[in-house]
Amino acid sequence: MRSAGDAWFKRIAFAFAASIPVLLLAIIVLLVKQSWLSIHTFGAGFIISSVWDPLADEYGALPFIYGTLVSSIIALIIAVPLGLGCALYLSEVSRSKTKEYIAVMVELLAAIPSVVYGLWGIFVLGPWIANVVQPFLRSIFGFLPIFQGPYSGLSMLSAGVILAIMVLPTITAISREVFNSVPNYLRESALALGATKWETVKIAVLGPARSGIVGAVILGLGRALGETMAVTMVIGNRPEISSSVFAPAYTLASVIANEFAEAVSDINLAVLIELGLVLLFITVVVNGIARLMVWRLTSKVKARP
């Protein structure tokens, strides 16, 4: 027999559980409501306009969308090979004790607060990029427009590098999980056929794990897109689409961090909230895709013993 206490407990627990979708809905509704002035004034053209002129109250989101996407893509170009290499080391290559230490270190990278990365970015990474990395890149690839222009520590490149460091743990940890979920008999069959370690990995691990790896990469992308403080501190905060990665840029998250408390006019505030809405939309879609891919793989194959 069910007691009244049980019914109440269930109701209370459900109320708390149900508050999660309610909160989510409230966030979306409130953001739409608060940015309505901007949505109404600029319409769909807002997304593709690159004007940012607070004096004339004309705003467009494109430079920020561009900065957000490009800095995240640079981060992936750097972090994906590193993260996969690291995950291979942890799951396929090393059998030693060092492996555990490396795993902990990569996990700790994820625990360092964003603002500390930013501090380090201003004083250590930025100058290194301006004095070493950019001259090096220009000396070799200077014929490409993306590596032209004056050197600067406050640049799209700095933001990309710092984001790469921040998404590295995500990509490593999830790829490692995905590799571990590849059944062992695949590896054993490859080895039994006389394959080398590399051939085994190529055939028996990377192949079956492909969609999981893509999921890990997209999940890393999701994290990079919404990252705020570290990027704000090194990207140079300039709403312009430049062909060079040495030039400063701006992201959706960092323009909100910089200007939200100090928006000049009502429409300016509404614009910033709409930028938040755009950011929310992009990250939710990207994360949704990633989760679907990781989930499809890890639920299909059983974990290896």
């Binding site: 607070p54 004096l55 930025g126 004056p150 406050l154 400063p248 910089n258 100090e262 928006a263 000049v264």
Partner: protein, 342 residues
């Protein structure tokens, strides 16, 4: 266990919130922030009253004041009539100190460069891209400039310092007025954005070849080089306390300005003031308060504080490189503060 922990946390927070003293919260201009930090610390030592001021930019100062999230605001750009109406109409501008906006740069070994309005505008318009440009060299005979690209640093937030600086450029350069204009936030033709005066000074400090505009104390306390600017009398003037005060004296000679001050409107401009020793980019900074205070306790504290700032507090200004208010203005300000209704 979890309940117990939550209980302890709640109880702790409740006792904590009951123990609170009245704090007056203000936010805004970063231009006078180092001074306000000093003033408020001294004021707390002297009276025990806590005045919390945060430098978030003049645009933010006006917005948060209008939204009612702060008790007073700070700005170096006077509020427009529309902004005043949005904030309820009863806004009083209390000038606190004057400051110079220094054009600051980072070129190791190159000291005291001289610039005039045209060259300065061209640099910020992106027409002059390199330090060894002939126009810069022409103003600085005998100085050898490196072949280095110029990195323009400006504010990324709504800023009164930007307002003062762009007002100056718009007044002296027609192409600046046509292409960019003047305001707390403008569409910069070139450069990188830093948050607050501090952010811009930070950008200049760590980037060789950078040039930007910051309140004088940010430049000096930080050992940044500053440029000498050509004033209306044709002299190259270094931003200092004296050249700031000279600009104020020059501006107050104008009939119109004197009339404004006498009528209790302190939103006067000190930009490009006449006088042979006047530094051209000088501005007042204001605290903005409601003439009719709703909360009697807070209103009283605020009134006392404001009176202290424009009288006793003025002595802390020079050591942080802000110029105190001229005596004639000061008396008018005190009577304006006395007129605040609680």
């Amino acid at each position: 266990m979890i309940k117990k922990a939550l209980g302890v946390i709640c109880a702790g927070l409740l006792t904590a919130s009951m123990a609170s003293a009245v704090v007056i919260n203000g936010a805004g201009a970063t231009f006078p922030y180092p001074l306000y930090l000093k003033l408020n610390t001294e004021y707390q030592k002297a009276t025990g009253k806590q005045i919390n001021y945060q430098g978030i930019g003049s645009g933010g100062g006006i917005r948060q004041f209008t939204a009612g999230t702060t008790d007073f605001g700070g700005t170096d750009a006077a509020m427009t009539e529309k902004e005043i109406a949005d904030a309820g109409g009863d806004v009083l501008h209390i000038p606190t100190v004057m400051g110079a906006v220094a054009v600051s740069y980072n070129l190791p070994g190159v000291k005291d460069i001289k610039l005039d309005a045209g060259v300065l505008a061209d640099i910020f318009l992106g027409k002059i891209k390199n330090w060894d440009h002939s126009a810069i060299a022409a103003l600085n005979p005998g100085v050898s400039f490196p072949n280095k690209p110029i990195l323009v640093a400006h504010r990324s937030d709504g800023s009164g310092t930007t307002d003062i600086f762009t007002n100056y450029l718009a007044r002296v350069s027609t192409s600046w007025a046509a292409k960019v204009g003047a305001g707390k936030a403008v569409k910069w033709p070139v450069g990188v954005g830093g948050k607050g005066n501090a952010g811009v000074a930070g950008v200049i400090k760590v980037n060789e070849g950078a040039i930007g505009y910051v309140e004088l104390s940010y430049a000096m306390e930080n050992g940044l080089s500053v440029a000498l600017l050509k004033n209306r009398a044709g002299k190259f003037i270094r931003p200092t306390l004296d050249s700031t005060s000279a600009a104020a004296a020059g501006a107050l000679e104008a009939e119109k300005t004197r009339k404004m001050v006498n009528s209790g409107d302190f939103r006067i401009s000190l930009c490009n003031a006449p006088g042979k020793d006047s530094y051209p980019i000088v501005g007042l900074t204001w605290l903005i308060v409601h003439k009719n205070q709703k909360n009697a306790e807070k209103g009283k504290i605020l009134k006392d504080y404001l009176r202290w700032v424009v009288t006793t507090g003025q002595k802390y200004a020079p050591e942080l490189l802000y110029a105190p208010l001229p005596e004639t203005v000061k008396n008018k300000v005190v009577s304006a503060i006395d007129g605040i209704k609680i």
